[in-house]
Subunit: 335 residues, 2 copies
């Protein structure tokens, strides 16, 4: 299999809920006006805590410093696994499950923290630029590694002989077991032809920027306050591909004929990981959940945000996933 | 003829050019998200100086106080002339020309300053609420006057016996003669079905909010700097009707099948009135230009903004209008 280090230098930022109004101008530009920006990697995810914005340096330039904007200090590089056609894996699962054992577990063992961003099209594994040597060293046995640069893919090998991998990987496999939350919403992972993005512009703007404003023409807002549901909406526009993750309630606001899912009617349930904000240094969080999912061959999308991590698993698997997580939390960590 | 005092209490505001980014959030809501606002009267006009925003109190609530927002102190009421079908006037002219002698001249004579807002559908004459008694007294001979209130039209008469009209109107007919500017752009006055507003959302957002940002994908921007052209774009959404005034360069960015003009290909030229910002107290400015246009039966739209006034006359009449204005400025005011 091939692993590509993509030609994007990313920043991971968050905008506070009440600071969004100050960022509407640059964000709308980044989402809808492709001829006004050179940004090629943009992702915006609303959670109850804040808006997580992951974007390349061209996009980051558009965000003015503000008390409402938090910026994680690192430059992050997105990795992308490309299976070369020959299905070496017998798994039918999609998403992070496919890369749990080959990428996520080895990086966790080497104490590399990752920021995951699953989209309709693929799964991006973001690693800190400073960890790149360790990443290459760790994954070069399993993968042909290429670094993309100005449209070319150049094979890379770890030149850095000083990189010392942790021999005793077991040590890293015992991270903090974080509390999880399983909200009631059902989610869909969708895409649309980027040419039709203007057709859903007002709906998307409404959902992204005004969902917390009261509606003047309806009296119903009880569903908004359903405490068993979570506010979660993710939009990404990466190298020209659009991906949307939203719950079925948001989905109903969009025209049914423009958005598509991989198999019609496929619904997902969410597991939110973390009781306190997770930070960006801890490693093994993704591994902790993707490993058992891989063992059970359960598909999963995985979206990290500024505060928490979010796994999406097929609706029909949520009971077994819940049991598995429950079990993981009751058992003392294997010693 | 009937004159309606509409049921809107309006504020006239301006947003500075570099302050627009701070108002993108409320303005997009007011333009595109009708189910999130009770605002029924909204107009936004970009000029080289600033953005003039005229809106009712529901809309005004959306604008946060800011160093970038100037608010004219008065409450303004929009008047609207409704011809009752029987074409008492033999004039074929449209716009302010039709009301120059019946409304604009008499109000100027009574020292009532007006703020004009022509749209595709009609011409709104905005007067200050404090001047209402004088307005009614002045116009009640010529018009049946109705005040609209919660959907009902109630006939009104001036109850205010203390209102003393200026007997010697001549005095008011000698206002300052302001310099005028006649830019080279050709303008169109257009409308569209409000249901199709979402279809032009991204283009309209681009033109309204990003026209001063550089485009990344083109090298041509020489036309933007044509010093003989003026930056002028006006959008209004009033009681559900959309009106757009833009030059032919902006028009080419919109899909041709959605916007319509009253007669296809009708083009207008602009006369900008004022060398220094005009303020809101001087009266007779509109009369000064609409009177001779009415004498020559030349149609005219008229759009006041925070700093200057703008008349639009048919392209084929611009030479005679220019000559007329030139003549007016060379002659000493009639004594």
């Amino acid at each position: 299999m091939d692993l590509h280090i993509l030609d994007h230098k990313l920043r991971v930022t968050s905008i506070s809920k009440n600071g969004l109004v100050n960022f509407t101008h640059p964000l709308i530009k980044l989402i809808f006006l492709r001829n006004r920006t050179r940004c090629k990697f943009f992702s915006l995810t609303e959670t109850p805590e804040n808006y997580t914005v992951v974007l390349d340096e061209e996009g980051f330039k558009e965000l003015e410093p503000s008390e409402h904007l938090k910026v994680e200090g690192s430059i992050w590089l997105p990795l992308n696994v490309v299976s070369n056609g020959n299905a070496s894996s017998s798994s039918q699962a999609v998403g992070v499950t496919k890369i749990a054992k080959s990428v996520i577990a080895p990086l966790a063992q080497q104490h590399v923290s990752v920021f995951m961003l699953s989209t309709y099209q693929t799964d991006f594994i973001l690693v800190k630029e400073k960890d790149l040597s360790v990443v290459i060293r760790t994954l070069e046995e399993e993968f042909n590694i290429y670094r993309e640069f100005e449209g070319e893919s150049v094979p890379v090998h770890c030149q850095d002989v000083s990189v010392c991998l942790h021999k005793n990987g077991k040590e890293a496999l015992q991270p903090t077991v974080h509390p999880v939350l399983i909200p009631q919403n059902q989610f869909c992972v969708m895409s649309l032809d980027p040419e039709t993005l203007p057709s859903i512009a007002t709906t998307l703007i409404d959902v992204l920027f005004y969902s917390s404003s009261p509606k003047e023409d309806t009296s119903s807002s009880s569903a908004d306050q359903d405490i068993n549901c979570i506010k979660f909406f993710s939009f990404s526009l990466i190298d020209g591909y659009v991906s949307l993750v939203m719950d079925t309630k948001a989905q109903r606001q969009f025209p049914a004929d423009l958005l598509f899912t991989s198999s019609s009617g496929e619904l997902w349930r969410m597991v939110r990981i973390g009781g306190q904000p997770l930070g960006f240094d801890e490693c093994g969080i993704v591994a902790q959940i993707s490993q058992p999912l891989a063992d059970s061959d359960i598909s999963a999308y995985y979206i990290s945000t500024f505060s928490f991590d979010h796994a999406l698993v097929p609706e029909e698997d949520i009971v077994s996933v819940r049991d598995m997580l429950h079990h993981q939390r009751k058992e003392p960590a294997a010693s």
